[in-house]
Symmetry: C2
Subunit: 408 residues, 2 copies
């Protein structure tokens, strides 16, 4: 009989998330009348911006007529979208970028998950702890780690996020090949300063490392002193790839569009010792395993950059940031230490006990679902994550319930 990828047996995360679902389902079964507010998953609830809807309809109509119909598009995305992205997300903010350095995809989960394929099996990989599980699990699946022991995978390097470093770890002593960073961070909501990111770019220059920078939550940054792109840091073009998404910026979680930014200077050593453009390897991967993003979706994404689209997406992120403020203010006033929620849609909350105890407390006493921090790594133990992606009334209701539960 054909044998499975033996590395899948090492994976732990799925048990964690199914555990959340099971506990919620059990509670709902025991308490069928109760209204549960889900603040665990980071999924948007507000409709798509009008500008995107309009463009979506127009592009759909183009698909209805022979003269304007589009078949296979370029795997790396249509020039109209790549150019709009380079112009608005980078050049207008003073960061030089070419449209050819933008690679459109159907999601940042896919991009951050698939990107490791272009690297050698023997790559030394470093991730923060707590961490978005996709970075870790995709390396486990690829066989680059050993077994799960004491809450971590052998063979992976972890950088500790702590209250002391504000969940922005410093670079390690060891020279690693591949580094994952995510700011504004999922799950902690922490945002690295220019100086902190600069340390990582210097580290990458010193060790010849590549930084995979996940900036999926960049649109939530309001403090102008904070970098919105790693390419604001001098030297980063040689040592970083950035991932961005329309999911949270424009409500595209069910619509699907994202992009990777791979500067031309970003090079990788080939087996013969010669260097290769990272973008060329990525194109080779994508043309073999991907067929591009749906045409109407790319037109809807382009509309994000129209004057109306820019205004409407700003309103959208403002809406969720107002929720984040309510959550952060409430939890702080209740005596909790919070990270995030200011330039990020996640609030990371230190609990008195362990993560699952507080999860159960919130579920049973307030009918609020959070995400236990321990699911994001051993350094997440003792924390929970609350998401600001919800309707404002639901967030207020949840905060009232938590306040009442804690004052009993």
């Amino acid at each position: 009989m054909i044998k499975s990828n033996e590395h899948y047996a090492k994976l732990k995360t799925s048990y964690f998330f199914s555990d959340i679902n099971r506990r919620v389902a059990d509670y709902q079964k025991e308490n069928p009348g109760k209204d549960i507010i889900k603040m665990g998953i980071g999924d948007v609830t507000r409709p798509l911006p009008e500008a995107c809807i309009k463009a979506f309809h127009q592009a759909t109509d183009e698909m209805a007529a022979g003269k304007t119909f589009r078949g296979y598009g370029p795997e790396q995305g249509y020039p109209f979208l790549r150019e709009a992205i380079a112009q608005h997300d980078f050049i207008r903010r003073g960061v030089p970028m070419k449209a050819q350095e933008i690679y459109v995809s159907d999601g940042s989960k896919c991009d951050t998950g698939n990107f490791q394929e272009i690297f050698s099996f023997h790559t030394r990989v470093g991730v923060p702890d707590p961490v978005y599980p996709v970075y870790v699990d995709t390396h486990v699946m690829a066989g680059r780690t050993g077994d799960w022991k004491n809450g971590r995978y052998e063979g992976l390097y972890y950088f500790d996020g702590t209250v002391e470093n504000g969940f922005v770890p410093d670079p390690p002593e060891e020279g690693l090949d591949l580094i994952y960073l995510c700011f504004p961070n999922n799950p902690t909501g922490a945002v690295a300063s220019r100086e902190q990111l600069g340390k990582w770019v210097r580290y990458a220059e010193k060790h010849g490392s590549l930084i995979l920078f996940d900036a999926a939550y960049e649109a939530f940054i309001r403090d102008d002193r904070l970098p919105r792109s790693i390419f604001e840091i001098p030297g980063a073009r040689n040592h970083a790839v950035e991932f961005r998404s329309f999911s949270k910026t424009a409500g595209f979680t069910g619509t699907r569009c994202a992009y990777a930014v791979i500067p031309e200077e970003c090079r990788i050593e080939g087996p013969d010792g010669k260097t290769l453009q990272a973008g060329d390897l990525w194109i080779r991967r994508q043309t073999t395993k991907f067929n591009g993003v749906s045409y109407p979706v790319q037109r809807a994404a382009e509309a994000v950059y129209s004057p109306e689209g820019l205004r409407q997406t700003r309103e959208l992120t403002d809406y969720y940031l107002a929720n984040a403020r309510v959550i952060r203010d409430t939890m702080t006033s209740l005596g909790f230490t919070c990270t995030g929620g200011e330039n990020a849609p996640y609030i990371w909350i230190k609990t008195s006990g362990n993560s699952w105890e507080f999860f159960d407390f919130l579920l049973r006493r307030a009918q609020v679902v959070c995400t236990p921090g321990s699911g994001f790594g051993s350094r997440g133990e003792g924390y929970i994550r609350l998401s600001a992606f919800n309707d404002a009334e639901r967030v207020r209701e949840a905060m009232e319930r938590i306040t009442a539960a804690l004052s009993v």
Copy 2:
């Protein structure tokens, strides 16, 4: 410096297709006024069916209102689409199937390319020759092959497609773990009979193999004696996974929707010797690296199964099949031996010389672009592929030009 996946250096195919593009571009540069008819790439040209357009618009409007908005959907697809597929593509044709056995994706290239990830590194893989390059290249990238030598990859098993076997190879003597089959075939247009597919299922039963059956062109089968699904063959549910697509059936190459069929009986041996459901491993892969298909696209795909959608997609495939008949009849009357073009949109044509010579002849004398058969494997040398995916007038024009060129 970080090192590349060393296996990428073994890949050959991209040179082949860029070679086609280069030759066409060179010719166009030398002959700027010439009108070139592209019959190489298998991309549709007709607009989306009206039923799909209508559903696309409706779903887009749902995304515009808070009450009907959809965020993240299930990675394996919405139940409405999975149920419609199981019902119409299988149950109504007498093939039992559950909606849970359907896994929706954004393309068959992605599915056939990614599916190998769930298997052990030590899997013994067999492919036909000629072959759709994605099956081969994804195993090269995963390191399961040796170097490229004499037109083949070491470590892969090849089944010869020849004029004698009508490009439907018999199973080999060796017991292999994973077998790729594609019927109606890309590139040859050959379609396996029930008896021929039965031989492969018996082979899989004997050796405990798994067959990955690519049925992306199933909608072009008009001969009722031919199987449209491998699951019409007794025993296949234990030994096969099938891939289907809306790309050619409903003109979705630029819209993006496809699906994999993984029966519950289809099991894989885990590292501890216990068996696992293939579907569970695939879900694990997909939930980690994929975020589902765009909601409006899934609604457009569902509309394929409405009474209007069924009629309109039938008209669409009829249209391309009429082109195929014109191509096959013309080439046959010109004295060429042809495979395909009857229950398939591709016509595979034996040339007198080698593939590239005939490619150049057609380009220079008729301004028609074909695909040289040698790009699909060593057994494709001496053949070319013509695609029926084009407007009928262009196909007629191309056939007139080829006829004129050959009669000089």
